[in-house]
Amino acid sequence: MAALLEVKGLKAFYGQTQSLYDVGFEIPDGGITTLLGANGAGKTTTLRAICNMVRTDGTIRFAGKDIAGQATEEIVRLRIAHVPEGRGTFTTLTVDENLRIAAYTRRDKAAVHADLERVFGYFPRLKERVQQQAGTLSGGEQQMLAIARALMLKPRLMLLDEPSFGLAPLIVQEIFRILKRINEDDKVSILLVEQNAALALDLATHAYVLETGRVVMSGPSSVVKNDENVRKSYLGY
């Protein structure tokens, strides 16, 4: 099967500082891929680079089209949903508005309504709080809102940055269960960046390990999971 996202020779810069050197990977259509790495390895930067939120250089092909250098909002309109670190909630808008804004670019209004219902099916808690200001939600609820909002874009690819960050283990489990359903039922491909490597490797089919802005290892999750170095550095046993 052809790759949905193909990244080659990706470099990224913050001002004068280069933080990615020659990153390359592929995401198969319909799969879940994870990027592992220590703090500062360039995982978040890679996600930001895909959406052109940092200065980048290199090839990024999505569904066969070169998207490098396009404006962030135009890339998003190709149905790549980015769930940023810190969740990116519109704090002064209501939950309902946070969800509707994500459907802003869609023209299929009837389908939007159906999607809203499905999203509420995944996250019933959001339905209870639909008229609440999003800034008043708890951390877990805001993470759910961020994923829900990404779904409202009707994405083909979802970029998730640290969805477990700062959340209680039970909530993390719930969120990961839902991610699996989203992948299987809605056929959304996922690129997952996660500190919790064990969790990420359980969910993902493929894994790439980043170190100081370079890919140092890659392969099917089952292989990566059993690698000596990965076990020592990221899984802790």
Binding site: M53, P84, F90, I101
Partner: protein, 301 residues
Amino acid sequence: MEQFLQQIASGLANGAIYACVALALVMIYVSTDHINFAQGEMAMFSTYISWQLMTWGLSFWVAFILAVVFSFVLGVIIERAILRPLHNAPVLSIVVVFIGLLAICNSVAGAIWSYLIKEFPSPFPKSSFGIAGVIGPHQLGVVMVTLIVLGLLFIFFRYTPLGLAMRAAAQNPQMARLVGVRVDWMLALGWGLAAAVGAVAGIMVAHIVYLDPNMMGGILLYAFASALVGGIGNPGGAVVGGFIVGVLENMVAYAGNQIEKATGIYIIGNGEKLTVALIIVITVLTVKPAGLFGRVVVKRV
């Protein structure tokens, strides 16, 4: 008593004008963090456009709508052409550009239409409108027109997808991009709307203060005071602030008048209106910078 009611009514009419200009200022402030010092002069320019259209024979309301549309387009163009390229410039540069715009609008209006003070018509019927002895026809008309405009804006921002997108772009531009909102265009659109609302205020107030290139100076100062009273990041607050400041302004003058009548000592009157606004601006800025209804925003260092 009747005089007192009259003062309140005329305060509300002025307040409606301040509310519009304050709202225009706040709309630009919430989306770009800029204070548009040229807002008043842009409104003045649009008012001249409407005057020009009327002298060419158009009716008041047609001229009104055309001038408001013109302002909208002008606002969009100014944002796209002049301010967009400077969006990362230091504060001083931005302030200087606004002052430059102010000087251009003022002097070009003076050059085209001269600095002679002109009468400006009122579109409201003299006889059947208003409440005798309390509120004049034009004052009532001003309050009604501004309330309609403010209501339309509220509906636009609250209930339309475009309005929602504009609010999202103002609140969190980065995240708005990530849901596909073309943030740059939203800012330009915000500028256009702000200019249009300012134009409404200018055309409505011109009958009261007469038309001349410096007509908006005092009104802009009062609009600043209103926006600050309401909290400069709060559109609803700016509108309420406008009415509060409008009534307050008249009450201060009224009280000064009464004191002079009772004691013969002059303290404050119509001649000190701008000073009152200055005091409001500086007091609110230093004592309660978030305004009456604003939230305190902690700035990251």
